[in-house]
């Protein structure tokens, strides 16, 4: 009888106990952007996997739940990032399949440009385990706040920078343009002290500048990660962008070109 109860309390791997997965985002700023829903998911989990931006964030999450595993060791210089992300997702799904109640924590919003989060969700669901995602504060949310932009008024377009160039995405220069991951433009792997390569940035400059006035400015933006640091908000001439050091966490914001074009018929609806 006693033995039977023990077995139920601690199921061996692949014993048939149903694991689960919650994928969460802790936001950008250490300890300040995490929703109560996410805090609860981290604290309740039997196993927390995490991919965070700095050692302080890792120490903070260990304080919430000591049963943690960092995923950062999946990165290696020269190793394809795709391979690293697949490996991370495999580790997470393996724990879910083994019957653990797993939480996978990423910085920012886990559903915005986080490949391993999606892969793990799909993998867990394919294994027949419940899996869901909780929202988090993304770099774009911070950008709207720090630059005081109202996207409702201007509208905006948001692209991953490498994909923007590769797929020759069509965009409207009279609408705000946000390019994510511009600091790793065309980079298939990672390296220490990484910065965007000037020659690749120049390709981006040559793609964008024909659509904007000569003196058009772009904003190089980085959200603040600590309550005692400031966000990076550097205004640069768009045509001089390639001379600027851009880091992996940099987001590029290009304000809209002015326009007076309007649909007369629709404008008539608003005429007094």
């Amino acid at each position: 009888m006693q033995r039977g109860r023990r077995r139920a309390a601690a199921p061996p791997p692949e014993s048939g106990a149903r694991g689960s997965l919650v994928v969460v985002g802790i936001g950008l700023m250490l300890g300040r952007h995490t929703t109560t829903e996410t805090l609860d998911a981290i604290q309740r989990a039997e196993h927390v996997f995490h991919l965070l931006t700095n050692p302080a964030a890792e120490a903070w999450i260990r304080q919430l739940n000591p049963r943690t595993t960092a995923l950062g060791d999946c990165f290696h210089e020269g190793k394809s990032r795709s391979e690293s992300y697949a490996e991370m997702a495999e580790r997470i799904v393996a724990a879910v399949r083994a019957g653990e109640q797993v939480c996978a924590a990423f910085y920012g919003h886990p559903g915005v440009l986080v490949s391993p989060a999606y892969q793990a969700l799909v993998g867990a669901r394919r294994a027949g385990c419940p899996a869901r995602m909780l929202p988090g504060i993304s770099a774009e949310d911070c950008l709207f706040a720090d630059l005081t932009i109202d996207p409702r008024g201007l509208g905006w377009q948001s692209f991953e920078a490498s994909d923007f160039l590769l797929r020759q995405r069509r965009f409207d220069p009279t609408v705000a343009l946000i390019l994510w991951q511009v600091g790793v433009l065309g980079e298939p792997s990672v390296r220490r002290r990484m910065q965007a390569r000037a020659d690749r940035l120049q390709v981006l400059v040559e793609t964008l500048t024909p659509h904007y006035p000569r003196r058009h400015q772009a904003i190089v933006y980085e959200a603040s990660e600590f309550p005692i640091t400031d966000p990076v908000i550097d205004r640069v001439l768009l045509r001089r962008l390639a001379e600027q050091p851009l880091y992996p966490k940099t987001t590029l914001y290009i304000p809209p070109r002015p326009t007076t074009a309007q649909n007369r018929r629709v404008a008539g609806w608003f005429a007094p």
């Binding site: 250490l30 050692p55 302080a56 440009l113 298939p188």
Partner: protein, 108 residues
């Protein structure tokens, strides 16, 4: 990697009293935490990049990017089916109606 600096930052965000003490007198809180002059300077600068550098000694592989690079594979092209062209049936000419003739079934 500076574990002491990590611990200092986690304490600041987790303990409102420590944050209040830091804002009131940073030097005293630095002293109590035993931070090095470089770490103190990184915090005073309010520069996130400098603080990152102090936290990781610059030797941490970045993980600011968690998205796959775009795939360069071409989308699979559909195999063309061998299509036997059918002859279009000749369009029927509409029956000519007599001018002023009464339409079949029409009521006047």
């Amino acid at each position: 990697m500076s574990e002491n600096l990590s611990h200092f930052l986690v304490t600041l965000v987790s303990n409102p009293d420590r944050m209040a003490a830091y804002l009131a007198d940073p030097d005293r809180v630095f002293e109590e935490a035993g931070l090095t002059p470089e770490e103190r300077e990184a915090i005073r600068s309010r520069d996130g990049r400098k603080l990152d550098e102090a936290l990781t000694d610059g030797f941490r592989l970045q993980s600011y990017v968690n998205n796959d690079m775009p795939t360069t594979e071409k989308a699979p092209t559909r195999r063309k089916k061998s299509v036997v062209k059918k002859k279009k049936p000749a369009a029927r000419k509409p029956a000519r109606r007599k001018k002023g003739g009464k339409k079949k079934g029409s009521k006047r």
